[in-house]
């Protein structure tokens, strides 16, 4: 039955089976890498001198009150290929959080990236970035305890309202730009995936950026299995064509998002309603055609100029986050005491489960 075999017997010295697991997982279930320890009790950074005596001194005071056992599950609020998100409540304090669980990927390269991002996450503090309060490792899953944004995402909002008026867009833009300014100039991070579903909103009308850092790395560990649908919609032309890219690529994405909110459809969908462009038609439109623009007969000159400043195909001609914060469109509404609370409160909360 078997085919002919080579004359000499072939052998492999099989790598020790325990190595893949032993290298990063202790017998008590702690994920470890260098100075980082992650388990059911949370994240710790153990300094070299005290490696033999784990201390909790590195824990933020707030985090001492947070552990997996303290959280009770209310319901699943999000599902995707990157993992699931559950609404959870702190049993003693009553605070609501979004708990994102992502299956641990044991590939070494991905693990290294996860470790790096977990460290960065710990230090990230900005009013316009979704806060990661704590992370855990339990039962083969990495959990992130995220700030709960109770009105869902911008994608949920534009599903209901179709278009958003310029004054609200200015307020929205200002907040996202402040978040991007922080990411670009203080954290030196490119988000890489600015899109409506990654801009979350709460009932106070605050807008915050999510799914960067550890969330994005974890999600991208599935990324080798990317689908075409949606992958390139908000991607800057220089990135699509394979050129080097920098912070300005996030600005392009933001410009498309804002234009989409203004006109009520993704800017590269034909207005005649032919349906979605095929993948390569979309690529050609983004890379080879002039960028979309806001119709001058429907929008103010300041808004049209703002959109144009974001979606220049040449990144050198695109404005930066700090420059855009001083744009006339943003300045125009700054003293009018506007916020998104009114808009947000008039809408239905997002569906319990979205995909």
């Amino acid at each position: 039955m078997r085919g002919k075999k080579p004359h000499k017997e072939l052998k492999l010295s099989v790598p020790a089976q325990e190595t893949p697991v032993d290298k990063f997982l202790t017998a008590s279930g702690t994920f470890k890498d260098g100075e980082l320890r992650l388990n059911q009790r949370g994240l710790q950074l153990i300094s070299e001198e005290t490696a033999d005596e784990p201390q909790s001194t590195n824990l933020k005071v707030e985090d001492v009150q947070l552990s997996m056992d303290d959280l009770e599950m209310i319901q699943v609020i999000g599902k995707g290929s990157g993992g699931i998100v559950q609404l959870v409540r702190h049993k003693w304090v009553g605070t609501l959080y979004a708990l994102k669980g992502i299956q641990m990927n044991i590939q070494e390269a991905v693990r290294k990236q996860i470790v790096q991002e977990l460290k960065i996450n710990q230090a990230t503090q900005n009013a316009h970035i979704v806060l990661c309060h704590q992370s855990f490792y339990h039962n083969g899953v990495i959990y992130l305890v995220l700030e709960y944004m109770d009105r869902g995402s911008l994608a949920d909002i534009i599903k209901q309202v179709k278009t958003i008026l310029e004054p609200y867009l200015a307020v929205l833009c200002k907040q996202v730009l402040e978040g991007l300014l922080y990411l670009h100039h203080e954290r030196h991070v490119i988000h890489r995936d600015i899109k409506p579903s990654n801009l979350l909103v709460n009932r106070k009308g605050e807008v915050k950026i999510t799914d960067f850092g550890v969330s994005a790395v974890l999600a991208s560990s599935m990324g080798q299995r990317d689908t075409f649908v949606g992958t390139y919609n908000y991607m800057a032309p220089e990135r699509i064509s394979g050129s080097s890219y920098d912070y300005k690529s996030d600005i392009w994405s933001l410009g498309l998002v804002i234009l989409e909110c203004a006109i009520g459809r993704f800017p590269y969908i034909p207005s005649e309603g032919e349906g979605w462009l095929s993948f390569y038609e979309l690529l050609e439109a983004i890379v080879d055609q002039p960028p979309p623009s806001a119709p001058a007969d429907q929008f103010s000159p300041e808004f049209c100029a703002f959109i144009s400043s974001c979606i220049q195909k040449d990144p050198a001609e695109r404005m930066s986050a700090s420059e855009l914060l001083n744009h006339p469109f943003i300045k125009k509404f700054e003293d009018k005491d506007l916020d998104l609370r009114i808009l947000v409160e008039s809408l239905e909360p997002p569906m319990n489960i979205s995909e």
Binding site: V21, G140, G242
Partner: protein, 370 residues
């Protein structure tokens, strides 16, 4: 390493034992004794075990909360349906699926496979030396297993080193059939994950609607190159970057090489890439056997209609020390793998239950007795 523990909430189920391994709870049939976690597997923990009834070593894979992710649930169901029918020495055997206690509400699935020592990904990145004989034998077994699959009109669609399990004696088995399809399946390309990007054939990257067995051959070529070079040949960061890396090695395509691309925009995109003369495979793999280079070259043909087939590859001179045509019979009749992509989670669960019954005639008998 595997610690027997009390059942959760103090309530155990008859016929099950509970073990904790690396903080993961395993609820498994009493005839299995876990040894230790192996850690392989894209989803959750895999542990080696002994079947006490047969004294056979097996690998138990726990898929945790299988229905949380619809894509993964469908993948699991598809793999179960397919593996039940496949019997070949180069295809992993699914020996058992443990019956859950609660038919209508179970969340975890425990799959029992034959135990292999490691996978090709681990071998490639380890210091283990690989001679021409190793590469030749691995490639032969992969092609032989693939010939069996293709004779049943099964496309694997996710061949990569991590999905090729090997033993210390160099036996090789193909695993992970979650993305497999029959050749006649309707194209559902745009809504589904297909081949892991680095091993993805040009016709997939270019959105061609009608792809066939040749996509697996491309993946084999990439794996073969990785055995020779000990690193991926086309490690693309994104789909378009993937295409660029391929064109950089193969060189700019002639007009006739692009005729298979039925999407005119995709064809235009390929033509827009800057000219490149390509890189000879012989210079990329200077120590490889000349016949290996020749076969690799025939596998990594851009146009799928000109790419070597699995049978032709087995007949290539590089495989002649190993290939015996009379010893490789085809599979049985084509297997029905079509599953309605829109079925509910409860229906997926029910269909999984029915797959499990095939491994548990005693349950079927008990049901008949009621």
């Amino acid at each position: 390493m595997a610690i027997m523990v009390d059942p959760p909430n103090g309530m155990g189920n008859q016929g099950k034992y509970y073990y904790s391994m690396w903080q993961t709870l395993f609820e498994i049939d009493t005839k299995y004794v876990p040894i230790k976690p192996i850690g392989r597997g894209a989803y959750g923990i895999v542990c080696s075990s002994i079947n006490r009834e047969t004294n056979e070593k097996v690998a138990i894979k726990k898929i945790h909360n299988v229905f949380d992710n619809r894509v993964d649930a469908l993948r699991t169901l598809r793999e179960l349906k397919l593996l039940r029918h496949l019997r070949h020495e180069n295809v992993i055997a699914l020996k058992d699926i443990m019956m859950p206690v609660h038919r209508r509400s179970f969340k975890d699935v425990y799959l029992v496979y034959e135990l292999m020592d490691t996978d090709l990904h681990q071998i490639i990145k380890s210091p283990q030396g690989l001679s021409n004989d190793h590469c030749q034998y691995f490639l032969f077994q992969l092609l032989r297993g693939l010939k069996y699959l293709h004779s049943a009109e099964i496309l694997h669609r996710d061949l990569k080193p991590g999905n090729l399990l090997v033993n210390a004696n160099c036996d090789l088995k193909i695993c992970d059939f979650g993305l497999a399809r029959t050749n006649s399946s309707k194209g559902q390309f745009m809504t589904e994950y297909v081949v892991t990007r680095w091993y993805r054939a040009p016709e997939l990257l270019l959105c061609c609607d009608n792809y066939g067995t040749s996509i697996d051959v491309w993946s084999v070529g990439c794996i073969f190159a990785e055995l020779l070079g000990r690193k991926p040949i086309f490690p693309g960061t994104e789909c378009l970057n993937q295409l660029k890396l391929i064109v950089n090695v193969l060189g700019t395509m002639s007009e006739s090489d692009l005729e298979f691309i039925d999407n005119p925009k995709a064809r235009r995109y390929i033509k827009s890439l800057p000219y490149t003369p390509g890189v000879p495979l012989a210079s990329m793999y200077p120590h490889a056997h000349p016949l290996a280079i020749d076969l690799l070259q025939k596998m990594l043909i851009f146009d799928p209609t000109k790419r070597i087939s699995v049978t032709e590859a087995l007949e290539h001179p590089y495989m002649s020390p190993l290939y015996d045509p009379s010893a490789n019979p085809p599979a049985q009749v084509p297997i029905d793998l079509d599953i309605d992509e829109n079925i509910s989670a409860d229906m997926i669960r029910e269909m999984m239950w029915h797959e499990m019954l095939h491994y548990h005639p005693e349950v079927v008998a008990a049901m008949s007795a009621r």
